[in-house]
Subunit: 340 residues, 2 copies
Amino acid sequence: MLKQKITLKHIAKELDVSISTVSKALKNSEEISRDTKEKIQAFAKLYNYKPNNIAISLKNKRTKNIGVVIPDIVHHFFTTVVRGIEKYANTKGYNVIVCLSDESFDKEVINMEMLANGSIDGFIMSLSSDTQLKNDYNHLKEVTEQGIPLVLFDRVTNQVNCDKIVIDDQLGAYTATKKLIDEGRRKIALITTDDYLSVSKARTDGYLKALSDNNIEVDNNIILRLPTMGMEEEVFKTFFEKSDIDAVLCVNEIFAIYGMRCVKENGLKIPEDVSFIGFTDGLLSKYANPSLTAIAQHGEKMGELAAEMLIQKVESEKEEETYQTKILEPTLIERDSTIN
Amino acid sequence: MLKQKITLKHIAKELDVSISTVSKALKNSEEISRDTKEKIQAFAKLYNYKPNNIAISLKNKRTKNIGVVIPDIVHHFFTTVVRGIEKYANTKGYNVIVCLSDESFDKEVINMEMLANGSIDGFIMSLSSDTQLKNDYNHLKEVTEQGIPLVLFDRVTNQVNCDKIVIDDQLGAYTATKKLIDEGRRKIALITTDDYLSVSKARTDGYLKALSDNNIEVDNNIILRLPTMGMEEEVFKTFFEKSDIDAVLCVNEIFAIYGMRCVKENGLKIPEDVSFIGFTDGLLSKYANPSLTAIAQHGEKMGELAAEMLIQKVESEKEEETYQTKILEPTLIERDSTIN
DNA sequence: CAAAAGAACGAAAACGGTTTCGTGTTAATA
DNA sequence: TATTAACACGAAACCGTTTTCGTTCTTTTG
């Protein structure tokens, strides 16, 4: 009892006209007489005719698909970006194909190659840590050389020419650090990851700049650098036991949560004794105890803008070689882990 | 300096052979002589020829795309499912098109219609709350009638014939409630949402069954039903102030976090005075203070299985009309919000 | 009343592949 | 030497559209 999808050919045969006539009639072409058009349109509606997307894609060389390649999806920030992309893309009639690189260079390459062979009109992506570590961007260069538009977000590189959109991580860290300094804090710890992640580096820079602008000496003993994976709770404990600090800036929520727990276990109060600020305003910040003052990255906005930039490039005829980098300003969301 | 994608036609013209010969040579067909094959393959490799996915899709009537329609993506459980789907799909050479219904019936319908016109080989989806409320599943029936395989997960309905995969929510709630009873709790509160969500209903049933099996009388005063959206903190406060309870089962993490906060503010200790268990073992459960004993739903496993079921149907020739429903067992993850 | 213009439709190419079914050439066989 | 089989390749149909360029028939115009 399968209702086979009906095609132009079926309609044409059934109504004894040519395929071209059917096609034109359904597009309300002036070429076709009112009578014929009505007849064809009625028939098409009756049998619920819908053109085949694949055939149209082949003809137009436009798929109306956007490829999104991200390192992970079980990740608050990336999901907000995807939501933003979806939101804008849908209003423009585009679908979103999501691929996960899983922080692996190889998977990133494979995914892009698959999609680049006609499946999508353009890419929106954030680099895997592995890629940033390898510092190899040939797969990105190849797609741009083929004329496929590419928008990089958050984890970007200046080694490839394309549109980019980032938040000003340095400014975010600067603002946060400044906020802590204004509270009267002087022994501000930083918990970050290895510097090969472009964002971590920028955040560290902002932290350092804020200290230097306020004549506070950098103390490398209260800067903790952790690998992205396999974060050991032990390392946290020893760090907080041996360090004399009155505030902590963390490059992500989880570091902040762990940090707050250690500090509380040491009998200190938040925010009276130690203030905390974390990057990435996600669920954890909101529901932490105390709730965490955070730097919001506006992922959804970022996704919307990325999609807008991409679709604009996809739909513009001219082969402009001008690329822009949009820089979004992060926002400090004050909660209970800092003194108001 | 655009490197245009090379096609069979280009290769054929360049090497002065026919398109068919090129096609066969690249597939290593026995029909073509060694010399010719080597020449063509070398040329193809040199110019990095890759067949156009769209053309192949049109010919084969197979897109190697899976459509995934979920209510939300900024949601831990759904993202773990998507990750599982991706993982399995990729090993089979499939790409994943993600569409968000945003809990809206209309968007769900629109998304499915778009994808059903040739863009995908099959659907994996979880119903929007709006759809479950409306109780209208014609859009699902239409795609199955067209012979497009469909796998429903988590939020399912028995009104449409297709493969399904759910966790045993009733069992999960039963296990959790039993655990609380075994701890010696007798005044066990339930915080849930409106029953039109299939999962909430099942969880409530499990809770009730556990009570009844253990001869504990149901007290409707300690059952709190909240709308999904716009959860008011006030409602929580009053509920916990007026209720005399010694344990709480929550159908999601956020309810649990809020609940724990209220309880602590009332000067009670967790788990000494009140135990907490929450559904959906996500970030919040893990990082809460105290960490939350939770019922894990194994989203990733669910995604993998869903993808496996779907792809098996997609690739099987025969039009079997036999559908299965897989039921996954949830697991209780014991943490610090219950007594060990 | 012949010629031009307009209306309504169809044939065919094109998008980029796959695949079936020839067909011409060479080598093996009787 | 005539016949046949094997080999290597090409023509063409096909997937489902869109679109250009005829073509036929009717109507208008000089």
